[in-house]
């Protein structure tokens, strides 16, 4: 589904991604771990099409498309979803109106009329239940005055509504208490099927107890320096990152 090859990205003349290779197939869950500043958010932003980052080389294939040829909204229409590490506020726009706009735009591209209001409302109700959202949530303004945890849940709610093929969850666990974490993880697990895939970005093992990855990758200094199965996450939890980052630094320089 997703095939990233030798991806390099630059911001303000500084190379942040230094040659990423990553393949994700349908039905898989990949975890990307790594210390702060290693480039995890940059990688997700580049996949989503944030123009702050200049792609200096490499390719990102998504099914049959080269994502790098598409605008961010087109990528979204193809089924790429990013749960932002820091979701922004959009004052004055209610959650329901925002989601309605997003769904309407996607359907427009597919040549479909807007979803009937009733169906849309039913779907929102269903997903609200799935994620234990409080009543009144739909009429709150997008992320305005939301707590950290509420923002993250709002991201997952949108994911549930938009049903992407590829969901990238960038530190969705930070800001969530353990109960909220379980709810969110449960929601993500329920949305999983054999046609979609999830990339979970985190630097804690905690989330991976609930969303169990098929593969774990360690990102450091703009490179994936180690990949493995879910046991790799446990090793990192026990030993920290130093034992692998040191090896990598010897090889690539720090």
């Amino acid at each position: 589904m997703l095939k990233i090859e030798n991806l390099k990205a630059v911001v303000d003349g500084v190379e942040i991604l230094k040659g990423i290779n990553l393949s994700v197939n349908s039905g898989e869950v990949h975890a990307i771990m790594g210390p702060n500043g290693s480039g995890k958010s940059t990688l997700s932003s580049v996949i989503a099409g944030d123009e702050t980052y200049e792609v200096s080389s490499g390719s990102i294939l998504f099914d049959d498309d080269d994502l790098l040829d598409l605008d961010p909204d087109q990528r979204a229409h193809k089924g790429v979803f990013l749960s932002f590490q820091y979701p922004v506020e959009i004052p004055g726009i209610s959650v329901s109106n925002f989601i309605k706009a997003a769904i309407t735009e996607k359907r427009k591209v597919l040549g479909l009329d807007p979803m009937p209001a009733k169906d849309l409302l039913w779907k929102m109700r269903e997903k609200m239940d799935l994620l234990n959202m409080k009543p009144g949530y739909l009429s709150r303004n997008m992320n305005e005055g939301f707590s950290g945890g509420e923002k993250k849940r709002n991201e997952i709610f949108q994911m549930a509504m938009l049903e992407p093929k590829l969901a990238i969850l960038d530190e969705t666990d930070s800001g969530l208490d353990i109960d909220a974490l379980k709810v969110v993880a449960n929601g993500v697990n329920k949305l999983k099927n054999s046609n979609n895939a999830t990339i979970v970005i985190t630097h804690y093992q905690r989330l991976l107890d609930y969303i169990v990855p098929d593969y774990v990758h360690v990102l450091h200094n703009g490179r994936i320096i180690k990949s493995g199965g879910k046991e790799l996450a446990h090793q990192l939890e026990e030993k920290g990152y130093d034992w692998i980052t040191k090896l990598a630094d010897e090889k690539w320089g720090s």
């Binding site: 989503a48 944030d50 922004v88 959009i90 997003a102």
Partner: protein, 484 residues
């Protein structure tokens, strides 16, 4: 205290005159009238409109006042001062150039009509294409009028009111905006062509929104429009001015006057969507819009001004409330959009005279292109206006780096029991907000529209439902292409 009462009296003084009683001295052929302004021209206008003598005198006095006034230059706008002797002050009621078919219509305008979803017949009507079929709005207007008449509500053109209801017009005209109030109000009083008149009798609630739309077939929107709206004790009316379709007019200078009178316990909601032609991208053409709008609130009365402004090359406009009665309420909700080379200097004045009077100001400016938007607000709380309150919020949203916004709040509080709160913010549409929307599949144009709508929500919510929807579309159109 004494001093203020004086100025209040001054403000409310009726500006009528019986001093000058000249007969008509000039006879000029009916449909041609020379360029420029003189006493004779004022007389001709009045005569053509078959006005009673008191009206002529009113106009003449205004004209003489105007002669002694200077065009204001304190607003934060730049424009070539019109040559007042180069304007034709009377033109036959149909001012718009007749087009033979919609194919003759400016393609830009046609495109906008289509985007607004305006029906072909409406398009023809709005752009002055001759239509022979009876249009819906005309028949609606007729049945609508008889319904209003049953309730004792008068809604007609001001010319008609001068003839049919002289006692009301004479009693109230110029009481809220005296001719000498400012340069443009004096000019308007001298030469106004037409406008709306509305009277709501005691205790009635006008059952529908009154709209100039329903009488546009009687008189096209004029260059010097005059509106007088009286809500008698305990009555309610919601009035919609303008039309969400863009109006193109050959008249460059527009100087309208609107007077609202809310008697004890009455409520007036006055909503405007203004879309005069703003000129092209280089600032050529476009309407100069200098408007004086003011309402007076008697005891426990309430006036709300809501406006969405996207048009005009130059706008100069401050809908105001004189809160004369105790417990009276004034509100001002405004969205002013400027794009390309547009300039707007708008705001409001809330003059608190009555005790426990309250006012709220929510002003939202949106600047794009190389435009310039200013908010100018005056909150004046007199000594006698004990326990009065004002809350003002003035926000500006900038799109791009070459536009500018300015806020000039003037606050005068003359007693210690009153409270004034002022908040102001300036923000930009963030790249991160747009990217966030993009990531959800919402394209950049739609994203901007969405963000702008959210920003304007508090104001749009004040508009009657249908008007609000159209105003939203209008905002989108006027900001199209403004962020790369």
């Amino acid at each position: 205290m004494k001093k203020e009462e004086l100025s209040e009296d001054e403000l409310l003084e009726k500006v009528t005159s019986t001093e000058y009683k000249y007969g008509f001295t000039t006879n000029i052929d009916s449909d041609t009238i020379p360029k420029g302004l003189s006493e004779d021209v004022v007389r001709i206008i009045s005569k053509k409109k078959e006005e009673p003598n008191w009206m002529l005198e009113y106009r003449l006095k205004a004209y003489r006042t105007w002669l002694e006034m200077k065009e204001p230059d304190w607003a934060n706008v730049n424009y070539p001062k019109p040559n007042y002797q180069d304007i034709i002050y009377y033109s036959a009621p149909k001012q718009k150039k007749k087009l033979d078919s919609l194919d003759d219509l400016d393609p830009e305008l046609k495109k906008t009509f289509d985007k607004l979803g305006i029906s072909l017949n409406e398009q023809k009507r709005l752009s002055g294409v001759a239509v022979d079929i009876v249009m819906d709005s005309v028949s609606v207007a007729t049945s609508f009028k008889s319904k209003l008449a049953d309730l004792g509500i008068i809604f007609c053109s001001i010319s008609e009111a001068i003839k049919e209801h002289p006692e009301l017009v004479q009693k109230y005209l110029g009481t809220v905006v005296p001719a000498r109030d400012n340069f443009f109000s004096a000019l308007n009083a001298a030469v106004f062509s037409d406008g709306s008149f509305c009277y709501i009798p005691k205790g009635s609630r006008c059952p529908m929104e009154l709209s100039t739309y329903f009488r546009i077939n009687e008189a096209g929107t004029g260059q010097f429009e005059r509106t007088l709206l009286i809500a008698d004790e305990g009555s309610y009316v919601s009035y919609l001015e303008g039309c969400t379709a863009p109006q193109r007019d050959e008249n460059q200078l527009h100087a309208a006057v609107v007077e609202l009178i809310a008697m004890d316990n009455a409520e007036i909601k006055y909503s405007t969507v203004q879309t005069w032609y703003p000129g092209n991208k280089d600032g050529v053409g476009g309407v100069f819009n200098f408007v004086t709008k003011r309402g007076i609130c008697h005891k426990k009365a309430k006036i709300s001004w809501t406006q969405v402004e996207t048009g005009s090359a130059v706008t100069w406009k401050y809908p105001s409330c004189i809160l004369k009665g105790d417990h009276s309420i004034g509100e001002f909700f405004s969205v002013a959009v400027t794009n390309n080379l547009q300039q707007a200097d708008t705001g409001t004045k809330m003059i608190h005279l009555g005790k426990n009077s309250k006012s709220t100001i929510i002003a939202k400016g949106i600047c794009a292109g190389k435009s310039n938007g200013s908010y100018r607000g005056l909150v004046q709380i007199s000594k006698g206006a004990k326990n009065s309150r004002n809350f003002s919020q003035c926000d500006s949203l900038l799109m791009g780096d070459s536009c500018g916004s300015h806020t000039f709040p003037y606050i005068e509080v003359k007693n210690s029991s009153s409270q004034v709160e002022h908040e102001a913010t300036t923000s930009k549409i963030g790249e991160d907000q747009i990217f966030y929307c993009n990531q959800r599949g919402i394209g950049t144009e739609e994203a901007i529209a969405l963000i702008v709508n959210g920003y304007c929500k508090d104001v749009l919510n004040q508009l009657p439902m249908e008007f609000a929807v159209e105003a939203q579309k209008l905002l989108e159109i006027s900001l199209e292409g403004s962020v790369g």
